[in-house]
């Protein structure tokens, strides 16, 4: 095989001789699913940005009324959760499935923290009479964050399954597919929020 023909399947910056073995973590299907999800979120983000370009004053004024602390705390919770999942995956790779379980439980706790903060944020906004119909900004704010929120809920269900399996000692270097697949989905939920937070809560 020539260097050119297999270039797409090599890691960046690796010379063809001396290249390490390559592997996509988890199930191939989850990666296509993640790509589809990223595309949908991407379209949503760009639509928000261009809607804002036509209503800059409105977006800036209503953004100023958002709770940025809640947004930042939720970013920190998702990052911590992702980190804990990485540690769990590393333990599973080392053949210590049961030791990975508490780390997954920690990740679930952070995810539940995200849910609690988000619900509290929604409750306050709804109390102020904000709805999908109240403005273009709020239409985007509610639908974008709620769409993401639904992904957090699904991610938590997946983490719950990983926790049960890890506790029963199911994962190990010879059985990583499930935990890597679930972990990849959870990191996607985190990745999307890393753009959502500066876009909706900070950019002005």
């Amino acid at each position: 095989m020539t260097a050119r023909s297999d270039a797409l399947f090599l890691p960046a910056g690796q010379p063809t001789e001396a290249r390490p073995a390559l592997r996509l973590p988890g199930d191939l299907a989850i990666w296509w699913f993640i790509l589809a999800e990223l595309l949908v979120f991407g379209v949503f983000f760009v639509a928000y940005a261009f809607a804002r370009a036509n209503n800059v004053e409105l977006f800036n004024a209503e953004q100023a009324a958002l709770d940025r602390d809640a947004g930042a705390i939720n970013t920190a919770l998702l990052l911590a959760s992702s980190y804990l999942v990485v540690r769990a995956v590393q333990l599973a790779e080392a053949g210590r499935s049961r030791a990975a379980a508490p780390w997954i439980l920690g990740a679930i706790a952070c995810g539940l923290g995200f849910v609690a903060v988000k619900l509290w944020e929604y409750a306050i906004k709804l109390g102020e009479g904000v709805s999908l119909a109240s403005s273009t900004f709020h239409m985007f704010y509610i639908s974008l964050t709620f769409f993401h929120f639904m992904h957090v809920l699904l991610g938590l269900v997946i983490l719950g399954a990983l926790w049960v399996n890890a506790r029963s000692g199911r994962y190990g270097p010879d059985n990583m597919n499930g935990i890597e697949t679930g972990a990849a989905y959870w990191h996607m939920v985190d990745l999307v929020w890393l753009i959502l937070f500066p876009l909706v809560y900070v950019m002005r």
Partner: protein, 101 residues
């Protein structure tokens, strides 16, 4: 990177705990910075460029290290990093379009 099962064909893709911790600390610091920018109400093209350059950098670590795509076939980091670059660039373009003329 070592494997407890020397006979295993599994290739670890998620680095060491030490590296993961260092990355996590950096991601948290970057988040604190973004929050501070928001609290100060800083605005303008330079601020927005910094915000999304930082978001891109954070996302790169999540993709390559947390998702474990650093040692994946090159197509996958290209697609995911490319998605992020494209989205950040489009947001920048929209921001520029909304600037007062």
């Amino acid at each position: 990177m070592t494997n407890s099962h020397s006979t295993s064909t599994h290739l670890p893709a998620h680095g060491t705990p030490r590296r993961a911790t260092a990355i996590w600390v950096a991601l948290m610091a970057a988040t604190l910075f973004t929050w501070a920018v928001g609290e100060r109400g800083d605005a303008g093209p330079l601020v927005v460029t910094v915000l999304f350059a930082l978001a891109f950098a954070k996302g790169t670590f999540v993709i390559l290290d947390f998702m474990g795509l650093r040692q994946a076939p090159r197509l996958w980091p290209l697609l995911t990093l490319g998605w992020m670059a494209l989205v950040c660039a489009a947001i920048g373009l929209a921001y520029w379009k909304g600037l007062p003329t």
